[in-house]
């Protein structure tokens, strides 16, 4: 287990190093330059532009810039924001937990929804109910997340007024709430954004869960459990579901890139002040260091997620520990 863990972590680090290199190459290969917006301003004299370039070290040779970029990165220094005049690390440290809250809520709800639906379908494979549920999950997984978010916003926030329209907390009352009230306020704001992502994840998980169970139910150990007189409910919950767990754990690692992408749209629509929102604001302001920082942290999330998924798989399936 320990060598496996070590190897997997090393691989993750190698991937992150490559991501950093690729993004660095991307900036310098692209047609614009990081200060284009400022540099094209007519009030900027060539001398001022040169000063700006020198201040941000853009006049050094590429190899020097790359070396500096990497050493700063290792120290966790992502540079300074061009539009907000504070360190990128500070901005991201503020936004990341909010996105993590959103993503964990969506993951937990989505996987719970998907596993339960998939198991219920597999238990009734081939029936009308199973077919209808399959149709729904296929349709749901084809739904663009930004459109689903808009639909939920329109119906549940604007028309029915069950949930707040946007933000992470109530602008006026939040300050005056008790700690429990504050928590409830945030959870209340969390419902619609996380449900959007959970529905999309749940649809995919349900399809895989159903298939994994349908593949396992004809196995002999399931038949012998039934022959022993184990109830059908227990056969599915205790015998089949455990063995159908592995593809679902793999799916957890694969779901993360889509989840990070979905979070960008959902945060935009519900004004959830997380990483996606930061990335879009930075894009609008052409704030390159911040854009870069969000991309690096987003990729790190994906890498960490896939390492976690591998560790979980290894914990569940002893055969993988040797592999």
């Amino acid at each position: 287990m320990i060598p496996f863990l070590f190897r997997r972590l090393l691989q993750g680090l190698a991937i992150l190093f490559t991501v950093a290199t690729v993004t660095f190459a991307l900036i310098h290969a692209a047609p614009g330059e990081p200060f284009a917006a400022q540099l094209e301003d007519a009030r900027f004299t060539p001398e001022m532009s040169a000063t700006l370039r020198r201040q941000y070290g853009l006049d050094a040779p590429l190899t020097t810039q790359y070396a500096r970029f990497l050493t700063q990165l290792v120290r966790g220094d992502l540079g300074n924001s061009l539009s907000q005049h504070r360190p990128v690390r500070e901005i991201l440290a503020q936004a990341l937990p909010r996105t993590l809250v959103l993503m964990s809520a969506a993951l937990a709800a989505g996987f719970a929804l998907g596993v339960v639906t998939g198991a219920a379908q597999a238990a009734r494979a081939g029936t009308r109910l199973d077919r209808v549920a399959s149709r729904i999950s296929v349709a749901l997984s084809a739904l663009p997340d930004f459109w689903l978010a808009l639909a939920l916003l329109l119906v549940f926030a604007l028309r029915l007024r069950w949930f707040p329209v946007s933000g992470m907390m109530d602008q006026t009352t939040h300050e005056y709430l008790t700690p429990m009230g504050k928590l409830r306020d945030v959870l209340w704001h969390l419902v619609l954004p996380s449900t959007t992502l959970a529905l999309v994840i749940g649809a995919v998980v349900a399809r895989h869960q159903r298939q994994a169970l349908v593949d396992i139910l004809p196995e002999e150990f399931v038949r012998s459990a039934r022959a022993k007189g184990v109830g059908e409910r227990s056969v599915i919950m205790r015998h089949a579901l455990r063995n159908a767990l592995l593809p679902i754990i793999t799916l957890f690692g694969l779901a993360l890139p889509a989840l990070v992408g979905g979070a960008v749209f959902v945060e935009y629509i519900f004004a959830w002040p997380g990483m996606g929102r930061v990335a879009l604001d930075a894009l609008a302001a052409r704030d390159y260091p911040v854009v870069l920082g969000t991309t690096l942290v987003g990729s790190a999330l994906v890498v960490v997620g896939s390492v976690l998924a591998d560790l979980l798989s290894a914990a569940v399936d002893p055969r993988l520990r040797r592999g």
Binding site: V19, G32, A142, G261, F265, G298
Partner: protein, 307 residues
């Protein structure tokens, strides 16, 4: 060089009817197999109608998609007999805009997916064919690129562009979408590298490029066609998403995502600006996915029933 018939007869995979999966007869069989499925037929019919509507947009559209009709009387008019899908804030006819938007969606998606598949085939095929350290280096890069969430990668690239036209968007979406196909192509090429017919072709003096193009690529065609179809669906949704965020093809070119963006601020009262483009978007994505599913079954020679 040795006469081709000998070599290419070795290259033919053991399909039940003894023909290469790329020959026209076999392509017809694949189509037949796809056509047998009711939902695949529906999907094809939907996509065909959409494509025709997109091509014939100048003749079908009742109004000019860019022309404000009446800034006072027709600003945000709900759907009616004259304006089936209503009008937008600039009093432009939404139905006409959606017809023109279909052109952007379909053309960008098809070309970007084709570009991505081409790049992926070349890169993955070359890696799988090279083998050894070169292969593992090349694929490590793909692993890293796949770890970057695509929308963040796109945002990083877009931040450097001023405004994007269709050509640039296709280029950006194509060059950020080839990683999965590269993995597929590498796996196929690596599996074929030491197969008898490839070794035979090499022994007969065929140049590496020829072996690759004539003997390896055709085998990768099946999975790549499926992956390309899936990619088309993804790019349609992605392009709409970027337009929705305001970073797709620049206004005033009509796009589905752009129409949804136009209706975002007033969504409470102007549901038609969100509903109709959204429905077409979902329908298209669903149709493309259904088609990809069915193609996967039809293109797998082992799943072909014996004739």
């Amino acid at each position: 060089m040795a006469d081709t018939p000998v070599v290419s007869s070795l290259a033919i995979p053991p399909t039940p009817d003894g023909r290469s999966p790329l020959s026209s007869t076999s392509a017809r069989r694949v189509l037949q197999l796809v056509w047998q499925d009711r939902s695949a037929r529906l999907a094809l019919a939907f996509l065909f109608t959409l494509a025709v509507a997109a091509i014939a947009a100048p003749w079908l559209a009742p109004y000019d998609p860019l022309l404000p009709l009446d800034p006072v009387a027709l600003k945000l008019a709900p759907p009616s007999g004259l304006h089936w899908f209503g009008t937008d804030v600039s009093s432009r006819d939404v139905f006409s805009r959606m017809l023109y938007g279909a052109r952007v969606s379909l053309a960008v998606a098809a070309l970007a997916a084709a570009l991505a598949s081409g790049l992926g085939l070349l890169y993955g095929g070359a890696a799988g064919f090279a083998g050894g350290r070169v292969e593992s280096m090349m694929m490590r890069l793909v692993d890293a690129l796949l770890a970057i969430p695509r929308i963040l990668l796109l945002i990083t690239v877009l931040a450097l562009w001023r405004s994007v036209d269709a050509g640039a968007l296709i280029l950006i979406l194509g060059t950020t979408g080839w990683f999965v196909v590269a993995r597929l192509a590498r796996a196929e090429a690596a599996a074929l590298r030491d197969r008898d017919f490839v070794v035979a072709a090499r022994a007969l003096g065929a140049a590496p490029l020829r072996v690759f193009v004539r003997h390896v690529l055709p085998h990768a065609a099946g999975p790549v066609v499926v992956a390309t179809t899936i990619a088309i669906g993804q790019v349609i949704v992605l392009e709409a998403g970027l337009s929705f965020l305001g970073y797709g093809i620049a206004q005033p070119t009509p796009t589905w995502g752009g129409i949804i963006r136009d209706g975002r601020e007033t969504i409470d009262s102007t549901w038609w600006l969100t509903l109709f483009p959204g429905l077409v978007l979902v329908g298209t994505a669903l149709a493309v996915n259904t088609l990809a599913d069915r193609l996967r079954v039809a293109l797998n020679p082992r799943q072909l029933p014996a004739p």
